[in-house]
Amino acid sequence: TDSYDYGRYHPINEIYDFQDMLVAENPNMVSKIVIGQSYEGRPLNVLKFSTGGTNRPAIWIDTGIHSREWVTQASGQWFAKKIVTDYGRDPTLTAILNKMDIFLEIVTNPDGYYYTHNNNRMWRKTRKPNPGSNCVGVDPNRNWDAGFGGPGASGRPCSETYHGPRANSESEVKSIVDFVKSHGNFKAFISIHSYSQMLLYPYGYTRTPVKDQAELHSLAKKAITDLASLYGTRYRYGSIISTIYQASGGTIDWTYNQGIKYSYTFELRDTGRYGFILPPSQIIPTAQETWLALMAIMDHTYKNPY
């Protein structure tokens, strides 16, 4: 994986090969867990980074839940390599990994990602057909059991924000739900989207502030300050509902309600020249700056056990 080209977009088979290569190169740290299958039968691969112990407190990072947001899956591959490269070199990451595990799902919506490469670059949702409709797919970030079906999602199968027939109807979502519940010891959950440069914490489905709002807000400020230190990329931050709009059935609302205090959503670059079609030349700078924010969140999680 040293010669893998992190500065370009890869089709799904190359990402799967990359994951297997990384596991083969790092048998003492990296393992691959298949937490389920997508609707079309693709494996939902999660890379586990662990230096020992059993069921250690853990940090979850996922990318690509909205398949067209290619810079997120590309950044996820860079993060994976960064973890194995920096362990033993970076004292902060080494301390974290000596006490916690990191789980990274790079292609969280594989059917959608395959579809963006082969059929429709603009595809965002899952690819499961909706009975009674010509329109396919559910927005996997409206399908979680947190305010499900409320304002901030659509009941129309043709809408890009269709919440689906019921919570967890999508196997891509249900598989994470089941894994998080069975693991039972996640302390941070970070779901990465693009674009518009924001760092968001719960809630999206209600205006009720989370009980940890003050801590999440100040940690978000620290994280985006670290992010901006590299290339000056400016982020906004705050709760989903106050920073962008009401969104129901969202990932991190559910994870926060599961007791995972440090629940965040990133919206990576860009601010408005390319949207989702971010040039590959910006992949590595985007991943590098995002990593600084991720490290701030992971370090805080490690130093504030609960």
Binding site: D5, R8, N118, N119, N120, R121, G272, I277, P280
Partner: protein, 99 residues
């Protein structure tokens, strides 16, 4: 493979809540087949909308008659996607032998 010749992405900056709701109304006009890349949030935050070629004129007239300012963020989406595809293929050619 779906192509997007003539599709444009418009960046709309609503001035006030009235304009916000007028843009929100666009969301319900499903015949336009609009794709909200950045949804409606609050006045002053940009809204980015991919507009298919067949709806472009109608949507622009709608915005202009309502006095809603917009700019064109992407002139022709397919041109951008062709560039992206070309970059992917040429990069793959370069890295293939090395692998």
């Amino acid at each position: 493979k779906e192509t997007f010749e003539g599709h444009q992405v418009l960046r709309i900056v609503p001035k006030d809540d009235v304009q916000l709701s007028l843009i929100k109304d666009l969301e319900d006009m499903i015949e336009f087949e609009l794709d909200f890349w950045r949804g409606v949030t609050d006045a002053v935050t940009p809204v980015d909308i991919r507009v298919p070629f067949h709806s472009l004129q109608t949507v622009k007239i709608y915005l202009e008659t309502q006095g809603i300012e917009y700019s064109t963020m992407i002139e022709d989406l397919q041109t951008m996607l062709d560039d992206e595809q070309e970059e992917m293929e040429s990069a793959a050619r370069v890295t293939q032998p090395r692998n």
